[in-house]
Symmetry: C2
Subunit: 501 residues, 2 copies
């Protein structure tokens, strides 16, 4: 086991360091003064590596070789930082020991699941240890009476979905990225396509076991459906992107699996018309499971990527709608009411997918949108969320940004909940020109999002890449409080340094 | 306007001060050291009163006369503390000015809505100012496109329900106490009867405007259905019982109003059987809007209290179940499946209430349970929440506690979500004996709740009266973090002192 690749922390944040200023940061104002040390982390010595091996077993510590590179970026590839060691703990006790040791030695620790994030949240921009939860991947219990699943953080979303569905249950959150871990979903408060009816990850977590940087283990919430016992620390961890503690176990809410689903593919003459149909759909009094939108270009990309034909590509824009219920009669009457509402709102047609195959064709394509857009190209993403009635305006504005900056922009997303995924695409733009145009495009998009009452992130988080925009989007008072919260849980700032606040 | 009744802070906490020890409290451990001053509050001078009158207008400041007594207790009457002044701000600006002034003068401020709490959360145990939100009672906007209601904190739950239902929407949280304010519901994270299907207040709040003790105004969240932009400060305020800030505006989630509801009244031979039927009901794959349980004694009390006959009183125990949907066919098929499940689980019969009148008879009685038990009697309450499958055990244990302590105990509550309301009833027990037996009974009940994996409060909060039990129930680490959170938002400890942590 060599250690020659360990002292590489100096390679951090090659692309994005312009967005942050490092150093000792002091948050002041009324109340506890919070000192968060943002540098001065120790590099890993041979002794440190031996201690990590002692804690986890040598097979669960990676500190050299080409595999290390896999843990130096996430899915978006834009933020980079090479870890000095990657550890794969298998128990809460091991996580606690790692964190206690890292605290004592002041080593940066970056928690990571599958690394499917898009904002650099799991990238070790200060080097140090990557704490990867992929070996904590057991579904511990499915409790049929309390309708809960107790899981380790490394369980993949697709594994959880398959497991509980076989038993007649639904775990409601349904982000497009099914190879993400549940721990990652909790840390970003992932939303997904079923949020309009069933809420986001936050609404579907009942309890968490969390390890603090000190090594202390907290049990928060449990199998209870209600809780008014003191401040909700559990909710502080959800969406905190691994900056406050490491989630080592979660109790998730299950629902009875709806027996029937039915999907509608609704073509429109323009995206504006499609999006303006959404309130009309909701005014039927029916809450669909999902209402997604897409333009033809994105659908073509998905067809190419999957090598499969989409059921309809003759229109410029589409709504993809899915309803669920317990009987054919129930979903049929939902479908009829929604179909009528769409036609009244100007839809060209309403196509019904009532077989498993036809539904699969639609939702497989939807699931492939991101991969299709990224395929063979460099992109960056804006995950802004606006009030539902402002989406059309924002999507129309992306065309203006595209013209003004000379970059291609594609978008798709959750028409039902106001969360857009806007992709700025490089194509063949040369290096320096690309960075300049990308920054300009992002600045314009986030500015417009804010003007429309939006927030920087609907479901992908802030991570490293979106800090600049969050600092602009939220009030200084709010940011100051967040920094003080960080200092409560992680006074030395060793946990996922450089992220969020 | 006299001021002779102002210096009465010495009358605070007559009954419960044994549970708390006051003084300067220092939370230590890793991280920021949090100093929360718990005494040394200033009494109100004539000049202070004049300043409050200048801020709110003299008609909105009450500082003498018999009305002051109304603000010295809540619905439970057990915790008492007379305010030196009650102010009724009408704008966020006024709230901000009051808090800024109180901070500068170090005057205790206790936020209050309708005072329907049961744990002393809104009782000014340190005297000072009661900040009553009842004049901030406007429904500012119903947004049909974004499915949100924007309201001031003093709006009553019943007003909100009526207003949105007329427009075809549902505000889902449905606590029994309909004269509570929305601000109070947010501060206790109230749950209610529809939580099993629609979640608790936390799940139905999209955005908050909050004023900190410093006077600073924060806007948190908004009309967005998703938000992964930094730590969720909004969730820190929900359930914080007015100890971190004053909620001055809320954006609430609306749902399309289900067009049909149907209620079932299901008699059982024993409460154990009734409660053990709940998982069988849920295994039908149908999520009812509500599953409540009650014993005959409580129903008799409600009949006497309302002067109305309950549809059935021949059995010892009942489940009250309500389903909702959009068509007669849908709710009928739900009812049939649930009815069959109840009969299989040993129900004596299944009575269907399909008219508005019959449904009203059941749910009016359910709504009157608490008032009926309290009527002409002294009681104290235990609002424990346990995993749904442990309720039967806890209810059976209440009989043992009743025998061991010689006090009458009645319970009813939310069979669907594990939240029990257990009432210890005084009847004709003499003063000193009552306090002794009550304390013994409460200790036993909370101990058992904890043994069953329960938490101290499901939906009524901790307030003043339940602090002792929360401090036992949660880990020292969790409590230490909560105290540090309190110090971030309220470093001087002027806001609702003596409550929660």
């Amino acid at each position: 086991m060599g250690i020659e690749k360990r002292n590489v922390a100096s390679t951090y944040c090659e692309l994005h360091c312009v967005h942050g200023t490092w150093g000792t940061r002091e948050t002041s104002g009324a109340g506890a003064v919070a000192h968060i040390q943002l540098e001065g982390f120790s590099h890993l010595s041979e002794e440190d590596i031996r201690e990590l091996e002692r804690i986890c077993g040598p097979e669960d510590v990676l500190c050299s070789g080409p595999l290390l590179e896999d843990y130096s970026h996430d899915e978006m590839l834009r933020v980079r930082g090479v870890p000095e060691a990657v550890v794969f703990p298998e128990t809460t006790g091991e996580v606690s020991s790692i964190l206690r040791y890292a605290s004592a030695r002041k080593i940066a620790v970056t928690p990571r699941g599958s690394g499917t994030g898009l904002c650099g949240g799991a990238v070790p921009v200060f080097g140090g240890i990557v704490l990867c939860t992929t070996k904590m991947n057991k579904i511990i219990e499915i409790d049929r009476e309390n309708l809960t699943a107790t899981v380790e953080p490394g369980v993949l979303l697709l594994t959880l979905h398959e497991t509980v569905e076989k038993l007649g249950f639904l775990y409601a959150p349904d982000p497009g990225e099914k190879t993400a871990t549940i721990g990652g979903n909790i840390n970003t408060n992932a939303g997904g396509m079923r949020a309009i009816k069933y809420g986001v990850t936050r609404d579907n977590v009942r309890g968490l076991e969390v390890v603090l940087p000190s090594g202390e283990i907290l049990e928060l919430g449990g199998k209870h459906a209600k809780n008014s016992t003191g401040y909700s620390l559990m909710n502080a961890f959800i969406g905190s992107e691994g900056t406050l503690g490491v989630v080592t176990r979660a109790v998730l809410k299950l629902l009875p699996l709806p027996r029937r689903t039915l999907s509608l593919l609704v073509p429109f003459d323009s995206l504006g018309e499609a999006i303006r149909a959404v309130p009309k759909v909701l005014s039927t009094g029916i809450l669909p499971q999902s209402i997604e939108f897409a333009e033809r270009n994105v659908i073509f990309a998905a067809e190419r990527y999957l090598g499969k034909k989409f059921p309809h590509t003759g229109a410029p824009s589409y709504l993809l709608i899915r309803v669920d219920g317990n009987s054919v009669g129930e979903v049929t009457s939902m479908m009829e009411a929604i179909g009528d509402a769409c036609l009244e709102a100007g839809a060209i047609d309403v196509l019904i997918a009532d077989t498993q195959e036809r539904q699969k064709a639609i939702w497989d394509a939807r699931g492939a949108f991101l991969a299709a857009i990224k395929s063979g190209n460099q992109v960056d993403e804006c995950d802004v969320v606006v009030p539902r009635d402002r989406i059309a305006e924002l999507v129309e504005y992306t065309k203006i940004v595209s013209e003004r900056t000379g970059v291609r922009i594609e978008s798709f997303g959750h028409a039902g909940d106001g969360n857009l995924h806007i992709y700025v695409i490089r194509d063949s733009i040369p290096d320096d020109e690309w960075e300049k145009r990308l920054e300009k495009a992002m600045d314009l998009l986030y500015e417009k999002g804010e003007e429309l009452g939006g927030l920087v992130s609907g479901e992908h988080g802030i991570g490293y890449a979106k800090r600049k925009y969050m600092l602009k989007n939220l009030s200084p008072g709010e940011i100051a409080i967040m920094r003080k919260m960080k200092a409560i849980f992680d006074p030395q700032g060793i946990l996922n340094p450089g992220k969020v606040v």
